[in-house]
């Protein structure tokens, strides 16, 4: 099946460690020194009736609100597909249930905690809230979960199976899970980056509407690729988008300040993406399994506003850049999973 459609990002709404539901981080980013930061939650009472939200944990409230706002901003009330990414799912409810199970035994456990412990509770809630009977899937693959979801939606939009898709990236972090992931070396070695939380909903469509942020041109995933494979994959993606590497203005990477993470970019980027200016997003949003979603969001906002603020450039390579045509997002997770995403300004 060949690609027949262009794909646009119509709207993207986030709740994260930056001010919620705005793009304020562009000019007034909140800075963090602590190893673990929780998202800045809006006042949900202004958005939901108490009876609607009473059972929902944070991750579910955030997902429901960002989804509603992405739908409202894009004018798509009933997307053809809801594709949700979450690396760890609803860990707050999972921990409540597991803790009670281990400490108090196999009696008197709470059904609500179990019901909201499954990863797909997020995507289901969005569908129930918006009455979406279409395709509904949840991608749960570590640091590449978001890219898997984006890839699924992008492929289905491109091959005309669907015309609109709500793609989400949702991960919460609890103090106890943070402590565990710190021991595995993945998180929390201040000052080398910090752990954040993600709630991101973006609307994708095959037509740009009045106010698309940017175009989505390609998504590629590779598992344990060698340098040659990665090179080929990048070439294939650029070719299908009829874009050359020279035309790419900058590369949004997942550098976080954690040496074991950044080392991989340092070894791959010079050869794969020679002389390309590198951008970052984890200094703003922190580390989490679905953080790459926020990287794509940040790149999309830059393309829409036609400027890249100075603080996004790695190592102060540049001042603010005006005029942006193409941004390539390159992320890896633990050196095993690699993803490439190409975004272009509308009309380019």
């Amino acid at each position: 099946m060949s690609r027949t459609n262009d794909v646009y990002i119509l709207a993207a709404k986030q709740i994260s460690v930056q001010p919620p539901l705005t793009d304020e981080w562009m000019d007034a980013p909140v800075r963090y020194d602590a190893p673990c930061a929780r998202a800045i939650d809006p006042d949900y009472r202004q958005h939901f009736a108490p009876n609607v939200a009473r059972r929902l944990g944070k991750i579910l409230k955030r997902a429901m609100l960002t989804s509603r706002q992405a739908m409202a901003a894009s004018g798509v009330a009933n997307p053809d597909a809801v594709v949700t990414a979450t690396g760890l799912g609803c860990i707050e409810n999972t921990e409540l249930f597991l803790d009670a199970l281990v400490r108090e035994g196999e009696e008197l456990l709470k059904p609500t905690c179990f019901m909201h412990s499954t990863h797909n509770a997020i995507g289901s809630l969005i569908a129930i809230d918006a009455r979406c009977h279409g395709y509904n899937s949840t991608c749960v693959h570590k640091g590449i979960s978001f890219e898997c979801a984006l890839d699924d939606a992008f492929a289905q939009l491109g091959s005309n199976r669907i015309q609109t898709a709500l793609v989400g990236a949702h991960d919460e972090m609890t103090p106890s899970y943070f402590a565990l992931l710190k021991r595995t070396g993945y998180l929390g070695h201040a000052p080398n980056g910090f752990s954040g939380e993600v709630a991101l909903s973006m609307m994708l469509a095959t037509t740009p509407g009045d106010s698309a942020l940017c175009r989505l041109r390609g998504v590629e995933l590779e598992y344990n690729p060698d340098a040659e494979t990665l090179q080929k994959t990048l070439g294939r993606m650029l070719q299908s988008a009829q874009c050359s590497l020279e035309e790419v203005d900058a590369v949004m990477t997942g550098v976080s300040g954690l040496p074991s993470n950044d080392r991989v970019y340092a070894s791959i980027c010079p050869e794969l993406l020679p002389n390309k200016k590198q951008l970052r997003y984890k200094h703003l949003f922190g580390e989490s399994y679905t953080a790459p979603g926020l990287g794509v969001y940040a790149a999309a906002v830059c393309l829409c506003r036609q400027r890249i603020p100075a603080h996004l450039f790695v190592g102060g390579q540049s001042g603010e850049q005006r005029g942006v045509r193409h941004i390539l997002c390159y992320n890896h997770f633990e050196g095993k999973n690699h993803s490439l995403i190409l975004l272009s300004a509308c009309g380019k």
């Binding site: 009473r54 059972r55 008197l108 059904p111 019901m115």
Partner: protein
Amino acid sequence: MEELILQLKQEIIKVLNLEDVKPEDIADDAPLFGEGLGLDSIDALELIVLMEKMYGIKLQDPAQGREIFKSIRVMAEYIHANRSK
């Protein structure tokens, strides 16, 4: 009985996270499900856990809950007659 009714209302508000609801907002004879408080089948399961935890009453069949959870008063009367703690 009045004491039990008040205690039940407080527990239900806590367990079901009924923000903004006060005990006096819940009428003793008003239906808990559908109309009235607007509870659903998952709330019924939470109430079954509550009855076992607080009063030592173990229901085997969720269908029994439909009768017992008609209103706070019916629930209190059932607890009064069957409690083991």
